[in-house]
Structures are given as C-alpha cells and as structure tokens.
C-alpha cells in the first residue's frame, strides 16, 4: 500500500537552487558572460552552468524527489540518497563553475577543477537519477507523465556523458580525436539534450499532471498527449543519434537535425494545444496564481520556438541563438519553476505543519499561507524583464540586458522573500498560526521528529 509522504530534502534542494539562481542573476547584472562575452566563452559557460545545473537541475531533482512517487503511486527507491547527492551537487557545480572561470584566465586555479567538478556533478545527478529510474522501473506500466520523466532521465544521462567528455577535453585530460571533434562540433547537442530533453520534456510531463490537479481538469490520457510523447522522444532520439554521426563525419547530419527541429516544433504546438484545453476544461473557475504565472512560461515556450524556426529559416541562427536559449531558460523553464514553487512551497509547508492537526482544531487553508496580490506584481516584473532581456540580446545591447537582469534580480529576490514568508507562516492569521502542539517547519532543513507527528518517512 503506497501512501505519499513529504520528501525530507526537497525544500533544501529548492533553497540551494534559488541561491544559485540569485548568483547567476548577479553575474548577468555585472555583465559576466554573454552578451558581453561570446556564447562559447568560458565566462558564458560558467554562467550557463550556474543557471542550468545550479538552479534548474537542482530544482527539478528536488521536485522529482517529491513527485516521482506521486506520479507512479510507489515509494521512492533508495530515498536516503537525497542528502548525499545534494552535497555532491553543490560541491560539483561550484567547482565546475570555478573551473570555467579559471579557464577564462580571470583567476588562477588548478586545471583539474573543471573535470573534478564535472565528475562530482555527474555522480551527484546519477545517484538520484538512478533512484528515480529504479522507482519507475518497479512501477511499470507507467502512466504517461511518468514516461516523460523516464525519457527526460535518459536525456540527462546523454547530456552528462557529453559534458564529461567536454570537461576532459577542455582541461587537457582527454586528447582523443573523436572527443575533440565532439567538443568542437557537438556543443549544441549537449545544450539541446539538456535544455530540451532533461529539463523541458520532464517539465512537460509533470505539467500534465500538476495543472490538471490544481485546476480540476479531466486528466485522462489523450491521444494528443501521447503524440507529444512519441514525437518528443523521436526528436531527442534524433539529437542523440547525431552524436555518432559527428564522430564518423558530417555526412547525414543536416537531414537528421532538420527532422529533429520539425518534430520538436510539432511537439511544442501539440503540447500548447493540450495545455490550452486543460485551462479551458478546468472545473475551478478561479485560477490560482501558480497557474496564472505559468501562462507566461507557456507564452515564452511558443515565442522561443517561433523565434528559433524563424532564425533558422532566415539563416541567422548564429546571431540569434543566444536570445533563443535565454528565452527557453528564463522565460519557459525558470518562469515555470518559480510559478510552480509558488504552489509547492505552501502546500508542503501546510502539510508538514498542519497535517497532524487537520480536523482536530481550526487550521488555515493552504491559500492563507500566501498573499497572491503581493506576488503577482513580482511575477509581472519578472516576465517583463525576460521580454526586455530577449530584446536586448536580439539587438545586441549589453547595457539593456544588464538593466533587464537588474530588474529580474529584484523580482526573483522579492519572490524568494514570499517563499520565506510562506515557510515562516508570516501570512497566516495570528490566531491560526501555531496552535498548541504544532511545530513551525524549518526554513529549508527538515525539522527534527517531534511527538510522533513529524516523522516524514512513516508509511
């Protein structure tokens, strides 16, 4: 018999992820990395890995620790790996970033920092990745959202393997010809498998389940959603197949990638249609802020896809790919992440704090842990800065980009303060806040078991 319990370390993953996000924003405000430096410059790689590994991938891993068991109705296999993996990842991502900074020549650090950081990160993601894969394996046949997660995990593995090769080549540890070819020619494959496969495809799968749950929409598997899955898997398979093609020579690569782009664009179109239907067929009329704020993320996904296809058709991908990557990373993935945190944090806090008291004494509703009006304007500012930042990259204005990033830093810090207020129960009416016998949850560490009511792993 499966009963879902709160994942002990998810909130710690979220906290670490948000700190990496703030670091990344500060780097952008200071003009570190693209667009001041080139897209392939070590400075940009440092920034990209802070944001994509430190923020997005830690956020996703923390969320999956909670959601994989809920998606498949089984307890997580090897739940004790969460904390060691988090520590490995923090060390790994920090070393990897410093390795890139050192590569840029700004500071002089041992050259081994880069492959060492890469190795720590790979082990750090592989360990929970293995726990997720084992959980999914035991839960076959998988419901559709869980199949998205399975493919996302496969893409994560491929991304990490390529990344490991690059770290070896860039630090001079690996000098095999194939590895060097792959580093020069295959960087976009590493980026696509990571952003489109691991992060976007997994987000899509989880969103099918979360949005229907939050808005009380019908959540039967639909043919269109299955098509999204099949085409998306095809697209990612084609990208992965491009790796051996790069190794043996450039022949056949262009048709492969054109097919991948076509299937990817179709995936986005059908997925957006599914999402529209979920919003339209919802049974609860009022849309909560997490679902409202997600609309900006979906709009960014559409905009990024249209921009990408337009640039490709115009033959100007070289000049505009920075804007596309920015829109995917900040508009779609970060927007979605922040919007869903705005629901997940209060829900987990509410259940942790008030679960033992439900029905026995007056307890606040989940919505009483948040003040939507306050957060709404920060989400608006956030998406405005994403739009301005994209524009700045398209017209090549570094100063406008830094200005937009400054606004973004303010919006993100304000949202983090909202999460802190939620964790601290500051928004809850005083008379309901902490009735006798209840324990205030820790800010981001699991609270010590107390009185038999806080054992998070009791099944």
């Amino acid at each position: 018999m499966f009963a879902a319990t709160l994942s002990r370390w998810t909130m710690s993953y979220f906290a670490a992820a948000l700190i990496f996000l703030v670091l990344g924003e500060i780097m952008m405000v200071l003009g570190y990395g693209h667009p001041v430096s080139a897209l392939e410059a070590p400075e940009t790689l440092a920034l990209v890995h802070i944001v994509v590994l430190g923020w997005l991938s830690l956020l996703m891993t923390g969320a999956l620790l909670q959601f994989v068991p809920v998606l498949v109705g089984r307890p997580l296999s090897f739940p004790s790996v969460a904390l060691p993996a988090l520590l490995l990842l923090i060390v790994g991502i920090a070393s990897l970033t410093l390795g890139f900074v050192s590569l840029s020549g700004t500071i002089d650090l041992p050259v081994t920092l880069l492959p060492l950081g890469g190795a720590f990160s790979i082990v750090g993601f592989s360990v929970p990745g293995f726990a997720f894969a084992a959980t999914l394996w035991h839960a076959r046949p998988l419901p559709l959202p869980a199949r998205f997660v399975a493919v996302g995990l496969a893409a994560l593995l491929a991304t990490m393997l390529l990344g490991g090769v690059y770290a070896g080549v860039l630090s001079g540890l690996i000098d095999a010809e194939g590895a060097i070819d792959l580093t020069i020619d295959g960087l976009s494959l590493h980026a696509s498998l990571g952003l489109c496969g691991w992060l976007s495809f997994t987000t899509m799968g989880v969103s099918y389940r979360l949005l229907t749950m939050f808005m009380l929409s019908p959540d039967k598997e639909r043919a269109s959603s299955r098509l999204v899955f099949v085409l998306g898997t095809l697209c990612l398979g084609l990208l992965a197949a491009a790796v051996p093609v790069v190794l043996v020579g450039a022949f056949g690569r262009v048709p492969l990638l054109i097919l991948a782009v076509a299937s990817g664009a179709a995936v986005v179109a059908i997925y957006v249609g599914d999402i529209l239907r979920i919003y339209r067929e919802r049974r609860r009329k009022a849309i909560e802020l997490n679902s409202r704020a997600s609309i900006g993320a979906f709009a960014s996904l559409i905009a990024a896809t249209v921009l990408f296809v337009a640039l490709l058709a115009a033959g100007r991908l070289d000049t505009g790919s920075g804007a596309v990557i920015y829109l995917v990373t900040f508009g779609w993935l970060t927007g979605m992440g922040l919007a869903q945190l705005y629901k997940i944090v209060p829900f987990m806090t509410w259940l942790e704090c008030y679960g033992p008291a439900l029905g026995r004494m007056p307890t606040p509703r989940v919505q009483e842990l948040v003040v939507e009006a306050a957060a709404l304007r920060w989400f608006r500012l956030y998406y405005l800065t994403v739009a301005v930042g994209t524009l700045a990259l398209l017209i090549g204005s570094a100063i406008l980009f830094r200005f937009a990033s400054f606004g973004q830093l303010i919006a993100i810090n304000a949202l983090i303060m909202e999460f802190v207020r939620t964790r601290r129960l500051i928004n809850v009416p005083a008379e309901l806040r902490l009735p006798d016998g209840l324990v205030r949850p820790g800010l981001f560490l699991p609270s010590i078991p107390h009185g038999g009511s806080h054992e998070p792993r009791s099944l």
């Binding site: 009963a3 879902a4 319990t5 939050f214 049974r283 609860r284 439900l358 509703r365 099944l459």
Partner: protein, 176 residues
C-alpha cells in the same frame, strides 16, 4: 475481493405507492468498490437498466416464482485494484457507512481536510464513505497516524475515487 451483493428489496416501497428510485441510487452510492447490487421489485425495471449502465453496471434479470423480478447489477469492466490500509484483509466485517461525503468538486487538499474533520466526529468502528476526484495519496499517512483503516479504488469510469474509512480507536493527540 469477493463480497456478497448488497440486497435491496423495493417491493414494500412500490406497494406503498412511493418511487424507489432515490432509495436505489442511495444504495448504489453506498456500494463497496467492486460490490454488486441485488434488486428485488414487483416488475422488470427496464428504465433502470440504462441508468445503471451509465454508471458502469451490467445487469442480469430473472423472474421470481411469484411474478416479482430479481435483478443483479454487477460493476462492469476491469475493477480497479483496491488499495487497502496495512494489515486490512477482511472488508466483509465492516459495517455499512454511517456517513457519506461527495467531495468530487473540491480542490485539493480540501477533500482531505473534510474527511479528517468528519472522521474526528465519528466513533470507533463507524465507517465513512467518500467520493473524490483524485486518489488522496497524502491522506493515507494521516489516516494511518490516527489509527483509521481504509479501502478505496476508482470507479469503472476511472474518474471518481471511492474510499471507505473505518474509524480506529486509540487516537493519538497532537503533540502527545
């Protein structure tokens, strides 16, 4: 789970001149997951067949010797696997539900709050029956902590989750 059909004899109602429809629907709502309904009436209740088919039941009807009819409504299709609380094997000993809640239109986690609040008002051994739009995965640990037992599954359409909760004794109190 092999469970005897729930038997409902509406002949007294029919003879008294009242409409048994509501009584039949109430009986259907209180069926345990997978349980059949045996209906006894003074005529062959043809209009009911389509109503029950819409709710996922097939029927077998046969005339009784005295001219009355007996109809067995069986939940059709593959019955969703029943989730049982730890250590619970015999649902047949559970009494009929004394309280029923339809929570299908509430947003999560409100169904969980309502169920736990209702359970607090009930006495040991009583059974609560609730309908939900989702399987209440986060409710189970709270039920277990409070010593309650449960059994539930999705109906034939896969859209409504039905749960029976038997109130346990030895309640633990917050902070105890």
């Amino acid at each position: 789970m092999s469970q005897d059909p729930f038997e409902l004899d509406v002949r007294p109602l029919l003879r008294g001149g009242s409409d048994p429809f509501q009584a039949i629907m109430n009986a259907v709502d209180s069926l345990a997951p997978g349980q059949a309904l045996k209906l006894i009436a003074t005529f062959r209740p043809v209009p009911l067949f389509s109503v029950m088919a819409g709710r996922g039941f097939t029927h077998q009807d046969r005339p009784l010797d005295n001219g009355d009819w007996e109809v067995l409504f069986t939940p059709e299709g593959e019955v969703d696997e029943i989730r049982l609380s730890a250590g619970e094997t015999d649902l047949d000993t559970w009494p009929d539900p004394s309280r029923q809640l339809d929570l299908t239109d509430l947003d999560p986690p409100e169904p969980m709050v309502r169920i736990l609040a209702t359970a607090e008002k009930m006495t040991e051994g009583e059974v609560l029956f609730a309908l939900l739009a989702r399987e209440p995965l986060f409710l189970y640990p709270e039920l277990a902590k409070r010593g309650h037992k449960w059994a539930g599954n999705f109906d034939a359409t896969g859209e409504t989750y039905r749960i029976l909760i038997r109130i346990g004794g030895g309640r633990t109190h917050v902070g105890a």
